[in-house]
């Protein structure tokens, strides 16, 4: 879903008034935010800034890094 957001982001940079694309972008962002929230609740932090940490540990340092998966 994040990749769809990225593609629409670039498309809108050169087509800023395309209402269909704007609608698709907003839908994709909503879905992306939902999935990020679910992932962070179930697994670990995806961002070190801009989202709440768990109250009992800073799992940013514990969860595997992308190149380790």
């Amino acid at each position: 879903m994040e990749f769809i957001v990225i593609e629409l982001n670039l498309y809108l940079d050169t087509h800023p008034c395309d209402e269909d694309a704007l609608h698709d972008y907003n839908c994709a962002v909503k879905m992306f935010e939902k999935y990020v929230k679910e992932y962070q609740e179930r697994c670990a932090m995806m961002f070190a800034q801009g989202c709440c940490a768990k109250t009992d540990c800073w799992d940013w340092v514990e969860a595997p890094w992308p190149w380790e998966l």
């Binding site: 961002f47 070190a48 940013w60 340092v61 514990e62 969860a63 890094w65 190149w67």
Partner: protein, 197 residues
Amino acid sequence: MWIYEKKMEHPVRVSCPDVGFAKLVITQYGGPDGELSASLRYLNQRYSMPTGAAKALLTDIGTEELAHVEMIAAMVYKLTEGADPEDFKAAGWGGQYAQHNHGLFWTDANGVPWAAKYIACLGDPITDLTEDMAAEQKARSTYEHLIQLTNDPLVKDTLRFLWQREVVHFQRFGEMLDIVQQHMNNPHMWNGCCMEK
């Protein structure tokens, strides 16, 4: 992956354009102890770090350094805003205008272009963290020199913020060096790293 935030980490303001100072502060853009060197050094070293905490710290400081690259770029932009070729010539920076006009380029204060030789990665966490601590001190010294070289209070304010970040990063790297040393002194290390998994 990375996400761009359309804002500065700290405001970058100048009282008036000063091409002569732009020529000097560009070293924190593309010089050996500049912000690009710092960011690439840390983001590159994290792969050979032994603990999650060390990988996290290098990721996070390397990311913050990218924000500092942007701050220095903004400072050079503002210091040269509206300057004409004569202003560049008078400041001794005619070569910049000849080759780049108002475009930015990765050089130090003497016009030497950025090179990968400015950064090291030995793949040894103790060696690399020690290198990072030295790098932060070199950047701190450079900011002190630059603060002495301008009279603009707004420019000094931004440079002082960046100076302070070098001090904080040095502190965090020092703490991480202790943590990694303790980790490596742990007996389980002698059974090989794979035993951890």
